[in-house]
Structure formats: C-alpha cells, structure tokens
C-alpha cells in the first residue's frame, strides 16, 4: 500500500490542533493528546525523522512545568482557596498590577495547568504531524506561486525533523567514542553540535533546491512577477485584516467577512497567475488516495465538531476555575476526537 499523502497528515493534525485551541477542558485535551500520540507511534514510518514525536512530547511537559512555576511566582489569576503564601517582593508604584510572590491559590494553579495542558496538546499535534509526514514529499505539493518563498518554507518545515535526526546521529557518534554522559552534561555537550547539524542540513536542502531552479525568476516578464507579488501580498494583507475584523467584536461589520473574502480572492488569483508561468514535472507524485482523504477528513471532523459545539455555546469546553468545578466531558467534541483515531485502522503499523 502506498503511504498516505503528507498533506493529509498535516490536515489531520491541524484539525486536532484546532479542537485543542478551542478548549481548556482537561479531559478533552488529554483525549486529543493521547489520540495524536497513539496515531503517531502506530502509523509512523521507520524513517529517522519519525522520532520527532518524543521530542515534542518532552517539550510539552516542560511547557506545563514552566507555566505552573510562573503561576506560583508571578500569580495572575487567584481564587479564594489559598494553598500557601510565598513572601511577596514589594514593587514600586509604577509596577502596580504586577505581583511577585504572595498567595498561591488552588484556582490559580488549576487555571495554569489547563493553559499549560492546552499548549502541550498543541505541541503534541504538531509533533505527530512531524513524525508522520515526510517533510520533503510535502514540499512537492507546494503551489508553484509559493516557489519564491519555498526555500524559507523548507527550512521552517524541516528544522524539527532534522533536529531529531541530528540528535540521534550525534548521540550515536558520542557513544561510539565511549562518551556515556547522562543528564544535564549530555545535553550541554550535545546541544551545539545538534543545532549546527540540523541547520546545516536544512540549508543544504534549500541550496539544493535553489540549484535545481526553485524560485527562479529568469525568463519571466517583469510585469507578471510584479502582478503575482502584488496579488499575493494584497491577499495576505486582506486575510490578516479580515481575520482581525472577524475576531474583534467591536470592529465594523464590513471589515470582517467582506475583507476576508477579498483577501481570499486576491490570494487565489495570485497563486493562479504565479502557477501559470512555469511548468514542472513530478517524479512519482503523491496522490490523494481514499485513505489520505479519510485521514484528512477525520482530523478536520474533530476540529469542526469542536468549533460547532463552541458556537452552540457548550459551556463544558471551557470549565470554570473560579469557582472551581469538576470539568464535564463535552460529549460531541469527545466523539469527534475519537473519530480521529481512524488512521490507525487505515494505515498498518510502520507503513506511513
């Protein structure tokens, strides 16, 4: 069986990430995290970058820890139930509203935990996508009009998987030389070589693409180039202003939907104009097979159901912390997230 389209994995993961970004309910977040994790460890290939998930998982745990420590030190949200009181550092008048130390409350800690869990879950979703999708094959599907920025896109998309590959290689080389450092010392000796190696690999890839004609501008009329750039830029600006207008309840109505629509039209026009100018052939192109479509739609369903539940005013998506309440499980989003387990049944173990 052919492995699924790389874009399908990214759409699947982004759908889960959308679901995670709409909720702070710990039950739903944990569900999203384990679904993403299980699919990642089950469906990942044996390629070197597929160990990226573990890295993201550890990073997520660190994020939760940092969020909790800061909520203890700096405070922020506080409720009536005081757990313990740290000595408070007095601050001058101009720093009013900022607090160092002071009372630590259960409600504040729970709120920080929910927020940290949300960030960690988002990281887990991105980590799963990094482990599952082949970054270089994803690049094949980048629209032609984006070729001018493709080098930047490549560096951005491949740094994390390359980091995992480099970490493995550097550690292996160290072990072969008899260096069996553990813990903090190992991190200190590994950090610089790993970062350097990962960046080098990404830059090599970008250079290779450049030499093969990615983003070339020769032979294209100046007017077409300017038109494409103007259309894409205008489209992006329209998208930004439109999204802002939609999110800001105070903004005039015409700034929201219409500007967003204009932005989309401009951006699509830019992509069409840009893609007309050069032809390319693909060797063994990725196809949107039935499993790929199913994978992408299962993730998108999880996100869509959560957004829908939120628009219907499902209060359990954001459980109250002051006063503290036992979070309820939002039924519809949970079922939607469980549907995102579908790839496990579509893709055999290690076949991705």
């Amino acid at each position: 069986m052919r492995s699924p389209h790389s874009g399908a994995w990214w759409l699947w993961a982004l759908g889960l990430a959308v679901a995670a970004s709409r909720t702070t309910n710990p039950a739903l977040l944990a569900m999203i995290a384990v679904v993403a994790g299980f699919v990642a460890v089950h469906c990942r290939s044996s390629a070197p970058w597929s160990s990226a998930y573990g890295m993201f998982l550890k990073f997520g745990l660190v994020v939760i820890g940092i969020r909790l420590v800061f909520s203890v030190l700096v405070g922020g949200i506080n409720g009536p139930t005081v757990l313990f009181t740290l000595p408070e550092i007095p601050l001058p008048d101009w720093a009013q509203g900022i607090r160092l130390g002071g009372a630590v409350t259960t409600e504040g800690l729970v709120y920080a935990l929910y927020q940290g869990l949300q960030l960690a879950t988002l990281l887990g979703c991105v980590g799963a996508a990094n482990a599952l999708a082949d970054p270089r094959r994803l690049l094949k599907s980048v629209p032609t009009a984006l070729y001018e920025v493709s080098a930047a896109v490549v560096v951005a998309l491949t740094v994390a998987p390359q980091l995992a590959v480099s970490a493995k290689a550097v550690r292996r080389a160290r072990v072969l030389r008899g260096d069996t450092a553990h813990g903090w010392r190992a991190i200190r000796t590994l950090l610089v070589p790993v970062l350097e190696d990962a960046l080098d690999r990404s830059l090599h890839l970008a250079a290779a693409m450049d030499s093969r004609g990615y983003g070339r501008t020769a032979g294209i009329p100046r007017q077409t180039r300017l038109l494409t750039a103007a259309l894409v830029m205008g489209g992006l600006v329209g998208l930004c202003i439109g999204a802002y207008g939609l999110l800001d309840a105070e903004a005039p109505v015409f700034i929201g939907g219409p500007v967003l629509a204009i932005g989309v039209v401009l951006a699509v026009a830019g992509l069409l104009v840009g893609s007309r100018r050069l032809r390319r052939t693909r060797y063994r192109p990725d196809r949107w097979t039935v499993p790929s479509v199913l994978i992408a739609s299962s993730g998108a369903l999880a996100g869509a159901v959560t957004v829908l539940a939120e628009s219907f005013g499902d209060a359990s998506l954001v459980p109250s912390t002051v006063p503290l309440e036992l979070p309820d499980v939002p039924l519809l989003p949970t079922i939607g997230v469980l549907v995102a387990l579908l790839p496990v049944f579509l893709v055999g173990e290690g076949r991705s």
């Binding site: 039950a27 994790g37 299980f38 949200i77 506080n78 209060a315 954001v318 309440e325 499980v329 039924l331």
Partner: protein, 281 residues
C-alpha cells in the same frame, strides 16, 4: 423544596432576631450590632457595598473583618460569592450568582454596558473608580469597597460613615420593616430556583447579612439609602442559595469513562512505542 425549606428557616430566625431587637430596644437596652455578620463594620475591617442595580435586589452590605489582602478577598470574606468568566478569568462576571446565565454566559468579559464595576472609598467619603483590578488592589483596613452592576456608575448608596461611638436608640424604629419582610416568605422563591439549580455551588455560600443592616438602621445617618436597602430586602430575602451539586454525579461518571479511555489509549501507545523501538534497534 430544599431551597424553600432552607429559606423558610432563615426568614424565621430573622424575624425572631428582629423581634428580640425590638423588644430590647423598647426596654431601653442598648444593642450592639451582631459581630460576626455585621453589615457595616464597626471600627476596623473592610465594609463591602454591593449594588445590584438593574438586577433588582438593591444594595447589600457586608463586613470583611481584619485586613483582607485584596479586593476579591474582601468580597469573599464579606460573604459574597463571585464568579470569573471561564475564558478570561480575572474579571468578575457574577456576584452571588447574578446576573444569571441567560443575561451573561460568563465565558468572556462582560460588555461595558452591563458589568460589575469596582470602587473604593473612605468611610463616609465618596466613591473612586479603581484603576486596579480587585485581585491586585489591597484595601486598607477601615475603608469601604463598592461593587456596582451596570455601565460603570458608582453604587447608589454612599459609603457608610463610621459608627457614632455609643449609639443611643431614642425611638423604636423597627416595626416598619417587619411586615414587608414577613410577607414574601411564601411568595417569591419560584423565580429563583432555576438559578440555584443550574449554577453549581461556589465555595463561599452567599450568606448575605440582610437582618443586621436593618437592625443597625437607627445608628447610620444615611436614612434614604438604607431605606433602599430595606425595601429591596423585602423582595430579595431568598438569596439564591446554591443547592449542592447533585446533578454533577451524572457528569462525574462520564469523566471517569473518559479517563479510562484516555489511560487505555496512553498505555496502548506506550506499549506500541516500546515494541517498535525494540524492533528497530
């Protein structure tokens, strides 16, 4: 039923206490305000004035004894329960579970036309809009904190002045407030039960101090504002006493089911990861 019974006993004790007050006052014995539930603080402590404004319920007062660390602590110590919006905690969107969920879902910060504004004042002074959040402002002992529902207007009741040292009750003033308090004991709780049912309990039940505010009526000078209090008390005595979370039991089973699913998936993922790592090596 629970609400009504609880409310009935509450009203009963209020009536008894009032009667005792009246009798003692008539007998010429000086009665100090009850200490624990004093509506307006005696000497120290922070007096909290909550103006329910358009929500109906007039102005209620409470006393946070000692020196509370923040405006929110003072509010809670004075016997008012508060709720933060779930997405933007730090604001106060409900005091004593009001406004109800239909008026303000309490997910994002309340609109500028209908929110709880936070004020402070010296005893007998005038209200100042606080430029700090209630969680960050440390009220001085012996001052007054004000909460007013609406579009940011100061509480209608002036900050209560310091009590005159030995209050001399010259006239027996209690009889007027007595009948209106006795009447609504049977009528109104129906409108309030849905709030009590749908809103889970807060950690500090709103034990509002309606009785002493009227028993200390002869002491305070601001007669007009206190009459607002007593008139509103008549319709508002049955504070929504949040019934304990009985319906939460249904929620907790789904939480347990979800927890089991999460743990099972996590274990499955862990086993798969280990097996695959062993095979790869």
């Amino acid at each position: 039923m629970v609400v009504r019974r609880g409310y009935g006993t509450h009203a009963g004790t209020v009536t008894v206490r009032l009667l005792v007050t009246v009798l003692l006052a008539a007998a010429g014995i000086v009665v100090g305000a009850p200490t624990s539930s004093a509506a307006v603080c005696g000497g120290n402590g922070v007096t909290v004035v909550v103006d329910f404004g358009s929500l109906g319920g007039g102005v209620q007062t409470g006393c946070a004894s000692g020196d509370p660390a923040s405006g929110l602590t003072a509010l809670a110590d004075a016997g008012f329960g508060y709720t933060f919006p779930t997405r933007q905690p730090g604001f106060v969107c409900r005091i004593n579970n009001r406004p109800g969920p239909d008026a303000d879902p309490c997910v994002n910060a309340s609109p500028a036309t209908a929110y709880w504004s936070y004020w402070y004042a010296d005893r007998g002074g005038s209200w100042t809009y606080s430029s700090l959040g209630a969680g960050n402002r440390d009220p001085r002992a012996g001052t007054v904190e004000g909460w007013s529902y609406g579009s940011g207007k100061a509480p209608t009741m002036a900050p209560p002045a310091k009590p005159a040292a030995p209050p001399a009750p010259t006239t027996p003033p209690a009889p007027p407030p007595l009948p209106p308090r006795a009447e609504p004991t049977i009528v109104p709780p129906l409108t309030l039960t849905p709030i009590a049912g749908s809103e889970p309990t807060s950690s500090t039940p709103p034990t509002t101090t309606t009785a002493p505010s009227s028993s200390s009526e002869p002491i305070t000078t601001t007669g007009s504002s206190m009459s607002v209090t007593s008139a509103s008390v008549a319709s508002e005595v049955p504070q929504p006493q949040p019934v304990a979370s009985e319906q939460k039991s249904g929620g907790s089973t789904t939480v347990i089911v979800a927890g089991v699913v999460v743990v099972a998936l996590a274990v499955l993922a862990f086993i798969t990861a280990r097996r695959r790592r062993a095979r790869d090596d």
